[in-house]
């Protein structure tokens, strides 16, 4: 089995080394793992750090946003005929050990799409983030009728079936919700697994700004109204 770990990164020189070192420590018996860094037009040393860590690098010439980067990663996964894809944030907020746990339902064929939820177990998420997340979850439910406790989580695992079917069109952070639109459209089985979230000042600063939520809301509503292009 072939596993691709997609790490979308935009100017992450401060933490990227630690993140990649953590991912490289992972070892599976029957799974061949490839770490793929999607350098989304970084202007800092992100690419050099990735090169030093000897991972596969896909480089966008200009910054396109999280959705653009994940879309490129998924296209690469389809080209490489990957069996499983894991998406992993480059800002150091996930623990590489959680990958093993989110892979389990995929390997056991119990789910097509696994999301690592930061909110299933006593979470350390800051209250303002929790609120925004909650609103996003409700919106998610209204738009695509999928209920997820942490729809905005960056740690996901996709089965081969999901890799083939999920088409990402949105460029920016709206992609987190677009995944659920695709899940609904393609009738994919979803499962949530509790994960640990590491909230540092760095990862908070790198993540979404709270005010961006309104922008995303407008875009998603228009997307829903305009239909599935």
């Amino acid at each position: 089995m072939k596993l691709l770990i997609l790490v979308p990164a935009y100017n992450e020189e401060e933490v990227l080394n630690t993140v990649l070192k953590g991912l490289k420590k992972l070892n599976f018996k029957s799974i061949k793992k490839e770490i793929v860094l999607i350098n989304d037009g970084s202007t800092d040393r992100t690419e050099q750090i990735a090169k030093k860590n000897k991972v596969t690098i896909l480089s966008h010439p200009i910054n396109r946003g999280l959705g653009g980067a994940l879309g490129t990663g998924l296209q690469y996964a389809r080209n490489m005929n990957a069996d499983i894809v894991v998406t992993f944030d480059a800002d150091g907020q996930h623990s590489h050990k959680d990958i093993i746990r989110i892979l389990k339902p995929i390997i056991e064929k119990k789910a097509d799409f696994v999301i690592g939820s930061r909110l299933l177990k006593n979470s350390q998420m800051p209250p303002d983030r929790k609120f925004i997340n909650f609103v996003a979850n409700i919106l998610n439910y209204i738009l695509w009728s999928v209920w997820i406790t942490d729809s905005q989580s960056g740690l996901r695992a996709l089965s081969k079936n999901a890799i083939g079917k999920i088409q990402i069109k949105m460029n920016k952070m709206e992609v987190a919700s677009e995944f659920f639109k695709e899940i609904k459209k393609n009738n994919l089985k979803v499962k949530e697994i509790p994960i640990k979230a590491i909230y540092t000042n760095y990862s908070r600063g790198k993540g979404q700004k709270n005010t961006n939520a309104i922008n995303i809301l407008v875009k998603l509503l228009l997307y829903r109204i305009a239909g599935q292009k």
């Binding site: 999607i38 090169k51 690098i57 966008h60 200009i62 490129t72 690469y76 228009l222 305009a226």
Partner: protein
């Protein structure tokens, strides 16, 4: 009054000629040309017979002709903004596709790095 009417008419003629020119160059479709000509024709009618708007306004149940113009303009503007928004999103997506293509053509794998050394 007549001077302003003539001035506006000249402007309308100029605008229509622009639309025709762009159609000749193949930059806009027949449909777009008809749309623009009809729009400017309406403007022309309103310039010379301002009473028309009041008449239409009454049919639509809006009090004054001037109100009808404002409502109409706002609706048109909203629609145009929506169109531009959709177009922009489309362009954004096309740029992403371009960036994706470049990224997938220049994949840097660990083996390649070794060879370079």
């Amino acid at each position: 009054m007549i001077y302003t009417q003539i001035l506006f008419t000249l402007f309308v003629l100029f605008a229509v000629s622009r639309a025709l020119l762009r159609f000749k160059e193949g930059k806009i479709s027949v449909l777009a040309l008809i749309g623009w000509v009809v729009l400017w024709l309406w403007v022309e009618i309103i310039i010379w017979i301002p009473g028309v708007t009041t008449h239409i306004a009454k049919i639509l149940g809006i009090g004054r002709g001037a109100d009808l113009l404002i409502y109409g303009s706002i609706i048109t503007l909203f629609y145009l903004i929506f169109r531009i928004y959709v177009k922009l999103e489309d362009i954004e997506r096309q740029i992403t596709q371009l960036a994706r293509k470049t990224a997938l053509q220049n994949i840097s794998t660990p083996k390649k790095i070794k060879r370079k050394k």
